[in-house]
């Protein structure tokens, strides 16, 4: 194994999805670190939005347990309300949004509400938070998940956050543009492909292989012709990551 953790690889892969100058709806944990890495490397003009009502340019100086913690308030570019920041999504002014999820299906629909469906769920999850809005309204949705067969399923029991719905034109018919651009897991990166917009295997992380990834996926995962290994973090990317993650939280 190389000199980085799987979480560090996921963070770097997520950072690469952010382009310079883009406006990014940033979630907590991995995405906020990914945003910081992007700013310190290839995207020095990116802007980060937080649904509690914060806009930042540079990452916060200090440990954040939640996005509303004092270090995220100090030196922010804007401290306002949820409606004011989240309306930028509905206004079409957010390039990329990050969300996580408990369950995702082959069209990128995500469930964070009811495992087992509405009627009599086996697990009641916390719910959408801002995820449904971010998934519906970001120009590109980026999902971050653990890669297990019970999580990557044929069809989610409940669509909290819409991906391509039933595939093809169904998302457009529901009145939505955008859609999932990448699903970054701890084993691989999946991307939509073809007129169906079904998620395909785009790259496999070092130490993992196609058969294993397909075996851990709940649908018949197709492989993109130009499949490659996920490029490992560069020295520059790791340096940026370690500058943000001073305590090595993601190295464990």
């Amino acid at each position: 194994m190389a000199d980085y953790s799987i979480q560090e690889l996921m963070i770097v892969a997520a950072a690469r999805e952010i382009r310079d100058g883009e406006v990014v709806f940033v979630g907590m944990r991995l995405p906020i670190t990914a945003y910081g890495v992007a700013r310190l490397t290839h995207a020095p003009n990116a802007v980060g939005l937080f649904e509690c009502g914060i806009v930042r340019y540079g990452p916060a100086d200090g440990m954040l347990y939640t996005m509303g913690d004092p270090p995220n308030q100090l030196g922010a570019a804007w401290a306002t309300g949820l409606v004011q920041v989240m309306s930028l999504l509905q206004r079409g002014r957010v390039d990329a949004g990050f969300i996580g999820g408990a369950e995702i299906d082959r069209f990128g629909n995500i469930n964070t509400s009811y495992i087992g469906g509405i009627g009599n769920p086996t697990i009641k999850l916390p719910g959408s938070g801002g995820a449904a809005d971010i998934a519906a309204m970001s120009k590109r949705l980026l999902a971050i998940m653990n890669h297990e067969k019970r999580r990557l399923v044929q069809r989610v029991d409940y669509v909290t956050s819409p991906g391509y719905l039933d595939g093809g034109e169904s998302r457009k018919k529901a009145g939505l543009d955008g859609g999932p651009a990448a699903v970054i897991t701890d084993r691989a990166i999946l991307r939509p492909h073809g007129s169906d917009n079904e998620l395909h295997l785009a790259s496999v992380h070092e130490g993992h292989d196609v058969d294993e990834v397909r075996g851990q996926t709940g649908w018949d995962l197709k492989v993109l012709p130009d499949l490659d290994e996920t490029p490992p973090p560069t020295a520059e990317e790791l340096a940026a990551l370690h500058e943000i993650d001073k305590d090595g939280f993601w190295r464990r």
Partner: protein
């Protein structure tokens, strides 16, 4: 002006009723009025419909204590710990009681409170299109945009008007005028939408402090029903410029509330066995003092002089 400074116990007893729709914090992770959560549990108020975009552990506590039988919100759990165990138990196994959930996204509950705040008959929006929130919460309506020539679906969100909103603020005067700074989540919309507003003020100041900066006022004091002086009334959540987050407290609650028995023990230790928030602060002792923000990062000077 009317004096509104009262004890938290009296404020809850006077203004909150069983069955009320209540906002307990709407700032997302900061400024959750846990002091009020605890007082509601001590007074054993029942059948609350708790409204919040993200409630953090406050709603989980109210559910476990038997006070909350309905939730109108986008997310219920424990931000540090993930799942809310009382929430799961109530929803999945009706322990200690059945729970009704009115599903929202953060933006849809924002639109609902905004419509309530501004007296709008409803709010049309788009960002829960495609989501099953439209199926599990039948209060929304799907319609066509009458201004669009091509077919364009929109979601109509009915207004939310809470009976009471309980909100922490950094400082207030005894007439209910106050300042709030840092990110606001849905605090403003909740305060304007609610019939009654109860403030937990970290500090009570002279009226001149508040009128020195009318741009930092959330809503004017005449719209406030009661002000309670409760320092760190939002512990363990943070308050901008005043208190850091006690993250480990959330984790401890998460671990202890994993079992019903563990939750009841936690509740006894931190709520039921304590008479009020002063006793809670005393019990926290040095732990609370370590969270106090003592540094200085002052806002740039701003002049309101008229001549």
């Amino acid at each position: 002006m009317i004096e509104k400074l009262v004890d938290l116990r009296d404020a809850i007893a006077e203004h909150l009723r069983a069955g009320d729709k209540a906002v307990l914090g709407a700032c997302l992770e900061p400024d959750v009025p846990f002091a009020a959560t605890h007082e509601i549990i001590r007074q054993d108020l029942r059948d609350l419909n708790v409204i919040a975009p993200i409630s953090d552990a406050s709603t989980d506590m109210l559910i476990g204590a038997g006070c909350c039988t309905e939730v109108t919100g986008a997310w219920v759990g424990n931000v540090s710990g993930g799942l809310g165990h009382n929430y799961r138990r109530a929803y999945e196994t009706a322990e200690p009681h059945k729970l009704t959930v009115h599903d929202h996204s953060n933006f849809s509950i924002g639109m609902a409170l905004m419509a309530g705040a501004y007296g709008m008959p409803y709010a049309p929006m788009r960002s829960i299109l495609g989501s099953d929130i439209l199926r599990s919460n039948p209060e929304f309506r799907l319609a066509e945009n009458p201004f669009s020539e091509a077919a364009e679906p929109v979601v109509l969100v009915p207004p939310l008007k809470p009976n009471v909103a309980i909100l922490p603020v950094q400082r207030a005067d005894r007439f209910g005028n106050h300042h709030h700074w840092g990110s606001r989540g849905l605090v403003f919309e909740a305060a304007m939408a609610a019939e009654k507003v109860i403030l937990l003020a970290d500090e009570i100041v002279e009226p001149e402090v508040i009128t020195s900066d009318p741009s930092r006022v959330l809503i004017p004091g005449y719209l406030v029903s009661a002000v309670c002086h409760v320092p760190a009334g939002m512990h363990p959540s943070p308050m901008t410029g005043r208190w850091q987050r006690d993250n480990e407290f959330f984790n401890e609650y998460h671990r202890q509330s994993r079992s019903r028995q563990g939750f009841l023990e936690w509740l006894d230790e931190w709520v039921l066995s304590l008479p009020d928030h002063a006793a809670y602060r005393e019990k926290l002792g040095a732990r609370l003092e370590r969270l106090r923000i003592v540094g200085a990062a002052p806002a740039a000077e701003t002049n309101f002089a008229a001549a």
